[in-house]
Amino acid sequence: MRASGDSIDGAPSYGLAVLVIVLATALNGLLYPYLALANLIMVYLLGVTYVASRCTPRAAILASFLSVAVFDFVFVHPSGTFAVSDVEYVFTFLVMLVVSLLISTLTMRFRQQSKARAEATMQAEIEQMRGDLLSAVSHDLRTPLASIEGSAGALLQQKELTEQSRQLAGTIQEESVRMAHLIRNLLDMTRVQGKIDLDLDWYALDELIANAILRTATMFDHPVRLRVNPDTPLARVDGVLLEQVFVNLLENASRHAGRSCQVEIALGGGDGRATITVSDNGPGLEAGSGARVFERFVGADTRGFGLGLAISRAALEAHGGSITASNRAEGGAVFTLVVPVGGEAKS
């Protein structure tokens, strides 16, 4: 038996067609004295049906043709010849042809569908395994990391530390914080790559943005400006994930526009959606890199995997929203996020 039950193709299929017709002819030879011609045709039709169900349409056509030819040549009087009166068997041939083509096409379609299903299942299993593996790895990395960061922190609290030791402990602490951040990005990436289970609840977007500003406060010299249109409706979103999107955008600004840049965030809403713009006064995007910045690893450098923006796009898309990047006329980059809001309040 062939793997996943592909249709038999090529020389073997023609061989099978010929064999089946030979067998049908032999059987008909035995039945000839007892049955009418019309019933002998049925035996051939049975054979053709079998060939069509196992082989490609080409072998089925061959079997149909052979059936009629052999039937005509062997059984129809005068046997051993193709007579002009036999033209009526062209009709028999056509019926057989249609039946065999129908059956072989249907069988092929059925096989293809089950094959695609099997492939999809396997793909999903691989995705699942990869996700499980990555999240297990990231979890196992975070536990020792918590110990490293905590130990360095405890060390920094010791009063009798020399200046050099303090600096070294400080480095350990900062770097472990950075590593925790990278692991979080990897974890988020595995989350948004598969089927995302959004933990939806009602949120005020400005609260999420303010939290993101707080979490990235050490990355900027100047306070981030936030303008909120007070009419912005609440949004039903995955708050933790969306807050991380804002953190990623702020980090991206700090990385590319520098810590001395001025970031402005504006939040407004209308027509069932909220629009958030995150703009900076840095060098802006390279010409023509508009959509590319959201691809994985594009922003990768010594400070990260460049996953932040890819995660952001996947997260927005999972919410039925969008994110785009462009340059401002007055200089600097601007990221525009659209989040669907409103809907029915369950209250």
Binding site: R142, T143, S147, G150, S151, A180, D199, D206, I209, L214
Partner: protein, 232 residues
Amino acid sequence: MTEPLRIVIIEDEAAIRRFLRASMGPDEVEWFEAESGGEGTRLIAHKNPHLVLLDLGLPDQDGLEVLRSIREWSQVPVIVLTARGKERDKVLALDAGADDYVTKPFSIAELLARIRVALRHAARAMPATEAAYEAGGLSIDFDARQVFVDGEEVRLTPIEYRLLSELARHAGKVLTHRHLLRTVWGQAYEDSTHTLRVHMGSIRSKIESDAAYPRFIRTETGVGYRLIPEES
């Protein structure tokens, strides 16, 4: 100097127990360490600690179960240690009686701040009897039901006032959405996050001057709200 604080830590990672012990010396804190839930519960019963640090990811027992069994007979403040992304676990732990949480990896400063808040609330037997709240420019007169920001009176609706004063009575402590909804609106409303967000938004617009840098109310995404305590 009074007697040192007695803290029970239930955590299976030896390295975490070690740095916690190192961060608060023996003259400040007397540490009792347990690697498992069962051992920890016994320690709490025998040592009568001031505070418990409980890891939610214990190998032998679900940390939540440990918490629930402790809460059957003890009101000792419990701070749970949990991993990021486990917002549901945090909420479950808080609703099961945990006083607060820190997310691993956490900084010592963060943990100390949480410990201070939890101890302060535990020390006050009846927080509801306080007559006033005052911290960082926000003051609330519980008798007159008045709220002031930097000396200026702020007019709040009755619901907003009850929300803010509930947060103030537990200043520094995170209160879950469910807790706030149940306390202010009643049991039937405990899933109406939408209502809560609307009123919190209204309070923020009245008492916060800069949406980007709230001075008083901290959103704990996916968990709840806390009033920022004066020292942090």
